[in-house]
């Protein structure tokens, strides 16, 4: 018993090490094949997981439990791409004098919609991260900044981003700006407070080493504190990513012009469950992709952090 546990554990740890940061010199030539061999089972499990879920849904539909008018199964809402895609477009088609077949093709329309939503999330995340890191660091760097800003930030952080929606519209009207503003608001307060907490949690020894080497306050922040907090702040960013997607949809649903949120609103108002589920599938795929991209970025930028997933697998 104990032997098998041990073996499992070491296998799990090897797996984690292989996923994470094995020194590049360890593998000489077949890097691509290695990587493929590692990634294929992952893809397989993902497909199986999603497939099982879809299968249950289809079975329920066959059994007549799931009403196709309310809960159309995957083959229905994914089956006719062009039919769904016709709802994705800039508003021109509904204007008088514009032919229904004008404008981008269905594929292009979907891509435009998806990319504009993704762009809003991306820009919002970037602004929020830079802002939160700067403000959080400034709060710890200068006591005056802390006294002036921290109470307000603490006070505003529990306010739901939804509550900011009217403000976004007052300030920015309609267009990209309010949606981006919403994303920034949704992330900024949490990330600022997380930055401060992580600064307080930096290993004192690291700071003391820098101090005994004669580092100035600026050098300590630049060379020790900022790199030390980046992994933690990045985790907060990843956790809030889904929040960012959520608020972007809400912002878009109020009339930004085009975007996934707007299509969902359209689906709701026209009672089109197929379109709703089609959008949900798209959003899920997008969220999944963004999370994957974030993890890749994490591996690149934060190369010294070991991937902890899989550590508990041997228990």
């Amino acid at each position: 018993m104990s032997v098998s546990t041990h073996a499992d554990q070491s296998a799990g740890r090897d797996g984690a090490a292989a996923d994470g940061n094995t020194p590049p010199s360890a593998r000489p030539t077949p890097v691509f094949l290695e990587r493929l061999r590692k990634i294929l089972p992952q893809i397989g499990w993902t497909l199986l997981s999603v497939g099982t879920f879809a299968l249950i849904w289809e079975i329920l539909w066959v059994a007549g439990v799931a009403d196709p008018k309310l809960l159309p199964p995957p083959h229905v809402f994914l089956g006719d791409f062009a039919d769904q895609a016709k709802f994705f477009n800039t508003a021109q088609r509904w204007q008088i004098g514009v032919s229904e077949s004008s404008g981008p093709s269905p594929w292009q329309a979907v891509m435009i919609t998806v990319l504009s939503s993704a762009m809003r999330v991306f820009v919002g995340i970037s602004i929020a991260s830079i802002l939160a890191l700067s403000v959080g660091t400034a709060i710890r760097y200068w006591v005056a900044v802390e006294r002036l800003t921290l109470p307000t930030i603490t006070l505003l952080s529990p306010v739901s981003p939804i509550a900011w929606l009217p403000v976004a519209i007052f300030l920015f009207g309609i267009g990209n700006a309010p949606a981006i503003f919403m994303v920034v608001i949704a992330l900024f307060f949490h990330m600022t407070i997380a930055t401060i907490n992580h600064i307080d949690g930096v290993n004192r020894n690291l700071i003391n080493v820098a101090r005994t080497m004669g580092a100035t306050k600026y050098q300590i922040y630049r060379r020790v504190i900022i790199p030390a907090i980046l992994p933690g702040v990045f985790v907060i960013l990843r956790l809030n990513l889904f929040g960012a997607w959520m608020v972007v949809l809400i912002a878009e649903s109020t009339g930004v012009g085009y975007g996934l949120g707007q299509v969902i609103m359209l689906a709701r108002n026209t009672f089109n469950p197929s379109l709703v589920f089609f959008c949900i599938a798209l959003i899920g795929l997008l969220g999944f992709t963004t999370d994957w991209l974030m993890r890749m970025t994490q591996k690149r930028v934060l190369y010294w952090v070991n991937d902890p997933s899989g550590v508990l697998r041997g228990l």
Binding site: P23, N203, N205, L206, N208, V209, A210, R211, T212, M213, G214, A215, Q219, R223, V224, P227, A228, L302, Y303, W304, V305, N306
Partner: protein
């Protein structure tokens, strides 16, 4: 005392007179860590501070490094009062204190970068120091790819890169296994002999004290005071099983036992009151 302070180069490397430290002074949580410490560390001397956990020996080290401020007395470094940390007094910690995001050579040359040296200078210096600690090959690795003993050697190399005249070591080998620890002690003695720096070394291991020290300062439990300074006049390398070592071990064990007993009794007393 003043006359000592003026005689800078010939005087002691570190001179503590009546040093005391009260943590959180003036609050309800105030407690006295150190009291009335008088201690001179001569240039090139290896002094071990030995005492039960929490007796304030690390605190004394931090005061010498200039990371904390004493609440009583004076700490002089070559005749000048210690007011701030200085690269001339390097501190080495118990846990790994290497920067995980820097490669080994970047860690070693961290202080040089702070000082503003150019990259080629830093590479050269790091290479030299790493060769001295026997790690010439691992310069481009990252700390988490090294074993515990290697990491502490890198930490020593990082301290040496600044060419300090005083090495302050806070239980640097406590997290290592016994065999690695012995290797590291031999390694440290080699480095110390080559560098001619003074070393103040904190430990609660009697064997470690006997293996390393010119003098062992035995601390009392809180507040930490120097109970006795035991000179160790044995030639190095030392045989831990020689009769002289045995006698020292017995003496230091007896000195420490009283303190540990007292610390326990005090804690139990506190518990009863609480």
């Amino acid at each position: 005392m003043d006359s000592e302070a003026k005689a800078a180069p010939d005087g002691p490397a570190v001179s503590c007179r009546g040093v005391g430290k009260i943590w959180a002074a003036g609050t309800a949580r105030a407690h006295e860590a150190l009291k009335g410490i008088d201690l001179d560390v001569e240039p090139g001397e290896f002094v071990v501070l030995l005492g039960p956990s929490g007796c304030g020996k690390s605190t004394l080290l931090y005061l010498m490094a200039g990371l904390e401020k004493q609440t009583a007395g004076v700490v002089d470094y070559f005749g000048d009062p210690v007011t701030a940390p200085s690269p001339d007094r390097s501190l080495i910690f118990q846990e790994t204190s290497l920067f995980p995001w820097l490669s080994v050579w970047e860690n070693v040359s961290f202080g040089l970068q702070i000082r503003g040296d150019s990259e080629p200078e830093r590479r050269d210096a790091a290479k030299q120091v790493l060769r001295r600690v026997g790690l010439a090959e691992v310069g481009t690795k990252r700390p988490d790819e090294l074993s515990g003993g290697m990491r502490q050697r890198v930490a020593v190399a990082r301290a040496l890169a600044m060419r300090p005249r005083l090495l302050l070591m806070d239980e640097p080998f406590a997290a290592l296994d016994v065999q690695t620890r012995q290797k590291m002690q031999d390694f440290l003695l080699d480095v110390w002999r080559e560098s001619a720096a003074s070393v103040v070394f904190v430990t609660h291991h009697i064997d470690e004290a006997i293996a390393l020290a010119d003098r062992v300062c035995v601390f009392t439990a809180r507040p930490g005071r120097i109970k006795e300074i035991v000179p160790v006049d044995l030639p190095r390398p030392r045989d831990p099983f020689a009769p002289e070592s045995e006698a020292l071990r017995r003496q230091l064990t007896a000195l420490l036992k009283d303190e540990v007993d007292r610390a326990f009794a005090e804690q139990e007393g506190l518990l009863e009151v609480g």
